[in-house]
Structures are given as C-alpha cells and as structure tokens.
Subunit: 342 residues, 2 copies
C-alpha cells in the first residue's frame, strides 16, 4: 500500500470480509462476532494499521491535536512563544497544528471547527476587530488567548500585565528627569500596544509630564517602522531625550534609526522598549526593556486549555483572565544620566 | 454535544439507527438502503458533522496534513523558512503539523508513521547522524529534506548551493588582500556548515592562502558562541583581518564580540556570514553575507513533495537533489579596504 492509509476496501479484501464489517470493527460495534473481529484485527495488525484521528476520536471524542493561530512567526518574541508552545504540547503528547493568521483566518477557523480537526484553540494574535475567538468559542471548542487579549471575550485569557510594566518604565524615565519623551507605538487595535501606551501615559500624567501628539508615532510592529519613527522624532529642532518603543522589534528599529543619524544612545537619547527578547541583551542593542514572562504565559495558558478540554463534557466553569506581572530590565540604552536641554 | 466530536453512538441515537449503520454510511458502504442513508446523512448535516481526517482518509487514502520537523524555530533563518512553509501549505489547503525535533524525534516520527497522521514529511534540520529521514522514507511516506541535506539519503532534497556560495565569499576575501582569515563554524555534522567550510577552504587553497587550525573555532549555532569565538580570535597578538561565520546568527555574535573588545568593523577586521536574513541588513549589523534563496527552496521542496504524494500509488520516480545557487551580498562589515598588517 506504499504510504497510503489502507482504505476500508484494502482491509476488507485482506480479511475476506465486507467493508462494512471492517467499519463495524473500527467503530467497536457489538454486532461483529468474536471470530470475525479477531480476523479483522489480525489483518489490521499485519497491515501495521493503527486507528487514526477519527477512529480514536469517534470513540473518545478527542483528536489529540491543538490548533495554534499565530501571526508573524518571524518576530523574535513570537518565535520564542511558538517554540515554548510546541515543546509544552509535545511534552503532553499533543500534536500542534499551526496556522499563520494572515491567511484568511476566519475561513480557516470555520473549516477547522466544521471538520472538528482539533480539541482546542490557542490564539496568540488577537485584535479587537477579530471575530476568530468568538467564532471558536461559540462553536464550543475550548479556546484560550495568550499574550494578546480581547476585552469582551467570553473565554480564558493569559496575558502579561502590559499596563503595569509600561507604568513602571514610564515612572523610571520621569524619575531620571526626562520631560520631553517620545512614544513609538502601533495602531491602537492590539491590546498589548494599547495597554502599554495607557500605562506609560498614566505614569507620565502622575508625574505631571505631558506627552504631546507631536512626540507620538504609530505604525506596524516592524524594524523599518521603528527606524522611520526614530528619524522623524530625532530630526526635530528639540527632539525627545527619551523614546519608548512598545515592542523590542520597534526598539531595535529606533536604535538603528538613531545610529543612522549619528545620534548617540544613551548620551543623546535614551531608548527603552517592551518584551525582553534574547536579542535585547546583545551588545548591538543593549536595550532597556520590560520583561514579559513568556514561559509563564505559555504554561498557564496551556494548563487552562487542558482544564477546559477535560471539563468540556460537563458544565463549564467561569472564564478567567490571568495577568502575569512584567519587570523592568535596565540596560545600557538608558544607563547614563540624560543630557539636560534648555 | 458541546465541542465534542459526535461519536457514532450520538449520531446513531439521533438517527434512530445502529452504530454500525452510521459507520456504513460514513464509509460509503453499499449495504445501506437509500432511505436509511438519507436519514443518517440528514442527521449528520443537522449535527453540522463533516467527515474528519480518517473518514476522508479511508476513502481517499489522504489526511490533508503535512508533518514539518524543524529545530530552532527561534533562529531568524529558520523562522523565516517556517513562515514560508506555513503560507505555502495554507495556499494549497493543507494543514501543517509542526514538531521541534529536539523532542525525541525518532519516537515522534515512529508514532506519526504508525498512526498515519500525515501524507508527507518535510525535514529542515537534517544531521548526518539522523535516522529520522530514513525511518520516514522506508515507511513509504513521501519525504523531502529542505535546507539541510544527507549525502546517502534515498529521497528528495532541495538545498542552497552552500559550497559555491562560500567559495565565492572566500574568493572575495582573498582578492581583497586578506591572508590571515578566521573561520567560525559548527560541529561538522551538519551539511550546511560542512559544505560552507569546504567551499570556503577551497577558495583560500586555490589562492594559496592557508587556513591554520589556530584560526578556526567550532561551537553551536548561537549568538553567544559567535561572541566567544570572536573574542578568542581577536584577543590574539596577530588576529585575523577577516572572519567568516558560517551563519548570520554566528555572524551577529562575532560582530558583538568585536564590539565588546572595541575592535572596529570593518576598519580592524572584516566580518562576513551566510544566510542573508532580514536582520543582516539592519544598521546594527550591516553584515556582508551570502543570500540563501529560502523562498525558492521552500517552493521547490513542497512542489517535490506534492509530486511524490500524487504518484505514491504508482511506481515512484528516482529521487532528486536540487541545489539553488547562493549570491554574495556585500555590505558595510567588509566594505572598506582591509588594514594591512606586517
């Protein structure tokens, strides 16, 4: 049979029985006599045939697969999260089916639900506009959001405390004497960016430091955009003395944008970001950033999902939103006293 | 039924027939009368039930899933390759089941084959010692190796021409006048590293330039190792005037190692690498490197795999090894004339 999965016809021929008898054996039907069942099972064994997803699923109601939706697997933070999710699922003996959500996710999720391909969903790229999670949740498929949340989502969420982490960072900058501060962020439609911006603004407001619109730049979460934003902020007559980029990736772009103008970090401008990816500690960046406890987020999120899958036949318990605290990590990109400007 | 896959018992109860009748309908058994079949199909439709992997597979011999084995999804080159593989499979309507191969890959592959979870395998992290691919191939499951090859592998492989790319880079360095050259590479057990080292050595040999053992450093493919290797090469009394790191990731570490010693690139030492990841073009690195046509590798590899899956019932055609050429990309890390040393 080469690589092909033996069809019921193949197996029936080998066992000298009808296809429906093979199907009865595969589905544990009581209506097969012991001798016939033994003969079919022997053939299955000789054909090295193991009942597959559905055969198992039709007995247990489980597929053993978890669907993971992730955008931007090429970003350092997301690839680290993917690595941890994959290892955790593998430790638990579960298969990870991975989709890049840019790819018509609505339709994909509809099909996956319709075909019941997975026991549960992990979403790591929620946006406010996204209907994916509601779609998944309303189908009754256990669903957990990691890293990015949705305010009115009825299901479980495990997130970093982005508001608090950004508040601590903002307070650190104003306490160091900065009053002209730049913010490089993204469209407001992503919870991580929104909460980081709000926490940061709150810290400045509490210290009586204004964050004028002219100091704010918005764009995609990529290096090129951080680069562009830094150049437009730093080319001004009185540029900010500190810049907060809401992700490490944007922060790397800001550092390179400053480099491209010959602006020295931290002597001329402080740069700080959020995520604490491995790269942030490299000499090339030496970036002050807020640590997201990605391992804790992944472990707590998958635990939550397993709990949902286990209880899904009984009455579900209330949805939970777990927020893990994020800690400021000070490095060379802010480690000197700022330049006083008049 | 909540999120559960309806079991044959559920469906049978709803249709008022026996489980084995449901099974007959699911497997298209002729031994169900039209009226009963209609009733069962109506119930399946009302239960929003679509035949799942095995039900489809038992008719078609296909699962619609491709198994991808990849190590180090956190390295920039590998995460880019993963992104491209995911998009390509998604375009083709195939599911990607992803495993990190550090995780007892032998046993995982054995189970996947045994349970016939996938129609084919993509391996991106072959090592010479690996039995994975032989295991997969001997099971009759269509299998393709991307990026990293195995010399005596009986199946299809799509690789960059690592030997040729490294030869071109080596020739570029010696033609620029370098005679004291460092090599930062990995254990020889990976085809990419081996072929790059051999091509590089051949270029130096053809130009009469020696590569003494004291100029070679070996270790894992990570930033910390490139960093350590650069420091040990550059701390020497007469250090190399150029260093070739066999991957961009090692190259980033070499650049940071030089930075940590206050050694200027390219003024004091040239640095070049291999892969041309996006990061190589950032100001932080501005790294001369050899471009691997990762998109071409992924597209050709998946095409090859689809061909195998399509022919797998007939007599298989001979295995092919495709090598795509790799082009030198010169950037600031080598763009000045080297410092002459005596």
């Amino acid at each position: 049979m080469g690589n092909r999965i033996p069809t019921s016809r193949d197996l029936a021929r080998l066992a000298g029985v009808s296809q429906s008898t093979v199907s009865r054996v595969l589905t544990n039907s009581p209506r097969v006599n012991a001798e016939t069942r033994a003969r079919v099972l022997k053939v299955l064994e000789e054909a090295n045939y193991t009942p597959h997803a559905l055969a198992r699923a039709m007995k247990t109601g489980r597929t053993g697969s978890i669907g993971v939706f992730m955008s931007r697997v090429t970003s350092p933070f997301h690839s680290t999260m993917l690595d941890l999710i994959g290892r955790r699922l593998s430790d638990l003996g579960l298969q990870m089916i991975l989709w890049n959500v840019e790819h018509d996710p609505q339709e994909t999720v509809r099909q996956v639900i319709h075909q019941r391909l997975v026991d549960g969903f992990v979403f790591t790229s929620a946006t406010f506009s996204s209907e994916l999670h509601t779609l998944a949740l309303s189908s009754g498929t256990p669903t957990v959001l990691l890293h990015r949340g949705v305010d009115d989502f009825g299901g479980d969420q495990v997130l970093g405390d982005n508001w608090q982490g950004a508040y601590d960072l903002g307070r650190y900058l104003v306490q160091a004497g900065h009053t002209e501060i730049g913010l490089v962020t993204s469209p407001i439609s992503v919870s991580t960016a929104r909460d980081r911006e709000q926490g940061f603004r709150a810290a400045l407001a509490d210290a009586g430091v204004r964050l004028p619109q002219r100091n704010v730049r918005r764009g995609p979460f990529n290096h090129a955009d951080g680069h562009r934003s830094a150049r437009s902020l730093l080319a001004r007559r009185s540029p900010p003395t500190a810049i907060f980029a809401v992700t490490d990736m944007l922060g790397f772009g800001v550092l390179d944008g400053a480099r491209s103008l010959g602006v020295r970090v931290p002597d001329d401008v402080w740069v700080a970001a959020f995520d604490n990816t491995d790269m942030a500690s490299w000499e090339a960046f030496d970036l002050t950033t807020v640590d997201q406890p990605v391992q804790g987020i992944v472990e707590a999120g998958i635990e939550r999902l397993r709990h949902r899958i286990a209880e899904s036949s009984s009455e579900p318990t209330a949805a939970t939103v777990t927020k893990l605290s994020c800690e400021l990590v000070v490095r060379g990109s802010t480690a000197h006293t700022p330049v006083e400007r008049t």
